[in-house]
């Protein structure tokens, strides 16, 4: 066991750090929503990261990846977070759609979609949740009827981040009305430029329209854009979510670590209301708790990465990283806005603290998105502790 970088890892870290330092100016604002105004900057930045060799680190070489083990992804996540620059725009593509296509895709799907995903020519969104199916994903009702060489899809999806600018969508649909819930689902790759798709942005707590509703009216999807066999959509989706939780965890822990440093700086400054925030014992204690949690989470993620590299499977403690991160991040953002006091009460562009206001509001969703904390605790209870099921 060795928590420090091996020589090759250290060399990679130096290379990433110096590249990011030289190019940080070109990064879009990390906290900005890639809306229509700066989406070109996001795409250019993502492409530059790809050209520099930092994207697809863990993807196999044959699909344009670097074929490295996930330790390098951890280093990348660390360095991007601490440089406070943006990561690649296509996180759904890199973390979910891509790995699912690598695992289950046909050669044609791989050739057509993987390269452009790495280069950010294709941005993906996720069409899993529905108004009536959140935590209970297997109950989805969006329906696909087979008609000749294509599916005809009707239904509604929700909570699709970036759908308003996405090129493709990973879409979970019901393709069999007779089979039991989990054997009736199929996983489709949907070109978002197909007729019959309406995307309606949902304004979230921050005022930004990051999430969207997707309405699907007689949308035609070629049969050969089914990922994995029809009826196996649940199994494909589960590998997708496994990838999401494994790789997302790394980025999140690193961003949390960087955010703790930023909040520490915030507390080191005189407060806007004249109070010396560093001497406020409540704020100070909460900062200490945040660092302890963040530090432990970082190590826990490294343990997950080490286990993945060695065994290929998520270790049992991988089930707690997202849960712990989401609650730690919420507490940290509350701490930041408490420290900012009255500065956190306005959202004008001229308020230098406005990013913190948005970050705090955005963090409220952390315990809901990608598995609610309630579901994640039940997962730990049932799958790790082997407690009897609650339903």
């Amino acid at each position: 066991m060795q928590p420090d970088d091996a020589p090759q890892e250290a060399a990679f870290r130096v290379r990433v750090r110096s590249w990011l330092a030289a190019h940080a100016k070109e990064s879009p604002d990390v906290e900005s929503m890639p809306g229509s105004a700066d989406v070109d900057q996001w795409r250019r930045w993502s492409r530059a990261l790809y050209d520099a060799g930092f994207i697809g680190l863990t993807w196999p070489r044959e699909y344009g990846g670097a074929g490295l083990d996930p330790a390098y992804l951890a280093i990348w996540a660390d360095e991007v977070a601490h440089a406070e620059v943006a990561d690649h725009l296509g996180l759904v593509g890199l973390g979910m759609a891509g790995p699912a296509i690598i695992d289950h895709g046909t050669e044609e799907q791989k050739t057509r979609l993987l390269g452009p995903t790495l280069r950010c020519d294709i941005v993906w969104c996720q069409g899993f949740s529905e108004p009536g199916s959140g935590s209970d994903l297997a109950s989805i009702r969006t329906n696909a009827e087979r008609d000749g060489d294509h599916w005809v899809v009707n239904g509604q999806k929700v909570w699709s981040s970036w759908a308003h600018m996405a090129d493709w969508c990973i879409l979970l649909v019901r393709t069999d009305r007779t089979a039991a819930a989990r054997d009736a689902l199929s996983y489709l790759l949907l070109d978002m430029h197909t007729p019959g798709i309406t995307v309606r942005p949902l304004k979230q707590l921050t005022g930004d329209p990051e999430f969207n509703e997707i309405f699907l009216d007689d949308v035609h999807v070629p049969l050969d854009m089914t990922l994995g066999p029809p009826g196996q959509g649940w199994q494909v989706a589960m590998t997708t979510l496994k990838h999401e939780r494994a790789t997302l965890g790394l980025g999140l822990a690193s961003r949390l670590d960087a955010a703790v440093s930023s909040v520490a700086r915030l507390l080191g400054q005189p407060g806007p209301d004249g109070a010396a925030t560093a001497e406020d014992s409540d704020l100070n204690n909460r900062l200490v708790d945040a660092w302890v949690e963040s530090r432990a989470l970082r190590l826990l993620n490294l343990r997950v990465v080490s286990a993945l590299r060695c065994a290929g499977d998520q270790p049992p403690f991988g089930a707690v990283t997202k849960l712990r991160w989401s609650e730690a991040n919420q507490k940290l953002m509350q701490l930041a806005t408490d420290a900012l006091a009255s500065q956190a009460l306005t959202t004008d562009a001229r308020n230098p603290a406005r990013d913190w206001v948005f970050r705090q509001l955005r963090s409220r969703g952390n315990t809901i998105e990608a598995g609610t904390s309630e579901i994640l605790r039940s997962v730990v209870a049932e799958r790790v502790l082997r407690l009897p099921r609650s339903r």
């Binding site: 928590p3 560093a278 100070n284 200490v288 707690v320 790790v384 609650s390």
Partner: protein, 357 residues
């Protein structure tokens, strides 16, 4: 970076788990000595197994899980590193490692905070030189495993480290009824007791500080083992105990509390692995030790208390073994020290101007 346990470390864990489950109270010490784990991280040149702190972490996690009442902490965590740091104690160290003699550490003075830190040392211990050697007079309180030990490492002001044979007539041992019924705590009264000086001044200070850092890490490891064991007991009970026609573990109020303990255990274990590895690498950040201490202290209470709660009324009784774990966890929590001290270490680290860059 590699945070996996090596196959050798996993094998050590399995060996220890089997050894600790199968040995009875009298045979366990001999078995531990024969397995070579009393000097697990002592250098081979000094008769030890030459392993590191991660192996020690495994040893103490397993000892906690087995609620071992043998004086492992006093010998392997506290005495061995201090004897190992003194050239004059080679024969004593060998006796410890071979299980021939057991040792304890008497460091805490009167009116001083009781934890694994030099702040516990008072200056009331009198050291007198005589024609036949040195003698010690004074009192050291709440010495773990003192009644069963053959010798004590006694810490005086300066600091200074002295070795005292406990069968000398100038020694009085005053046992206390300890909260932790599985670990004896006695006061040591010395009245011109013959002693040998192991070290003093900066050498002794360095040896003590290093030993305390290691011992706090191993106390955290023991808390992890205890917590893992009580979580297992609670999960089993919650699966078997039925109320309202259902196992109580199917109620989310019960299940989610246990799920959180699982998370607390793995978070604390991660911090302990980092502290252990960093001690071996010589790059331990004081804030990392403090983070581990804070995390372990919280876990010490949260796991045992959740387990008692889930067991209901029986958890409150001596019919259930939980009280041993709870009390041991409470004792270890005290050894780790006041949370405020560890909080300040982290806070200083975070709010240093240099760190902000």
């Amino acid at each position: 970076m590699d945070m996996n346990w090596t196959p050798e470390q996993t094998a050590l864990r399995h060996m220890l788990r089997e050894l600790l489950t199968e040995s009875d109270e009298t045979g366990v010490w001999k078995a531990l000595a024969e397995a070579g784990v009393l000097g697990l991280s002592v250098a081979p040149a000094r008769g030890g197994a030459g392993a590191g702190m991660l192996e020690e972490q495994i040893l103490f996690e397993e000892a906690g899980r087995a609620i071992l009442s043998a004086p492992l902490f006093s010998n392997a965590a506290l005495s061995a590193p201090l004897l190992s740091a003194a050239d004059s104690a080679a024969e004593d160290l060998a006796a410890l490692i071979e299980g021939r003699r057991t040792f304890c550490l008497a460091w805490a003075g009167i009116g001083r905070p009781y934890w694994l830190n030099r702040v516990a040392i008072d200056d009331s211990l009198q050291v007198n030189g005589t024609s036949v050697g040195r003698t010690l007079s004074g009192l050291r309180r709440l010495v773990p495993d003192l009644p069963s030990a053959d010798a004590a490492v006694v810490v005086g002001a300066g600091p200074s480290l002295h070795l005292v044979d406990l069968d000398a007539p100038e020694i009085t041992i005053r046992p206390n009824a300890a909260l932790d019924t599985t670990r004896q705590l006695a006061d040591l009264v010395l009245d011109r007791a013959p002693s040998r000086l192991l070290s003093s001044g900066p050498t002794a200070a360095a040896a003590l500080d290093a030993t305390f850092r290691r011992a706090i890490t191993l106390a955290a490891a023991e808390i992890i083992g205890i917590s893992e064991c009580v979580l297992g007991l609670a999960a089993r009970h919650a699966s078997e105990r039925h109320q309202f026609g259902r196992p109580i573990g199917s109620f989310q109020a019960v299940a989610h509390r246990l799920a959180d303990i699982y998370g607390d255990i793995e978070m604390t274990r991660s911090l302990t692995m980092l502290a252990a590895a960093s001690i071996d690498n010589g790059n331990l950040l004081p804030a990392d030790l403090a983070a581990m201490a804070l995390s372990a202290q919280r876990l010490a209470l949260s796991a045992s208390e959740a387990a008692i709660q889930v067991h209901g009324g029986m958890g409150m009784t001596w019919e259930s073994p939980l009280h041993h774990y709870y009390k041991r966890a409470r004792y270890l929590r005290a050894l780790i020290g006041p949370a405020a001290v560890h909080r300040k270490t982290v806070s200083d680290h975070l709010l240093q101007p240099s760190r902000a860059s």
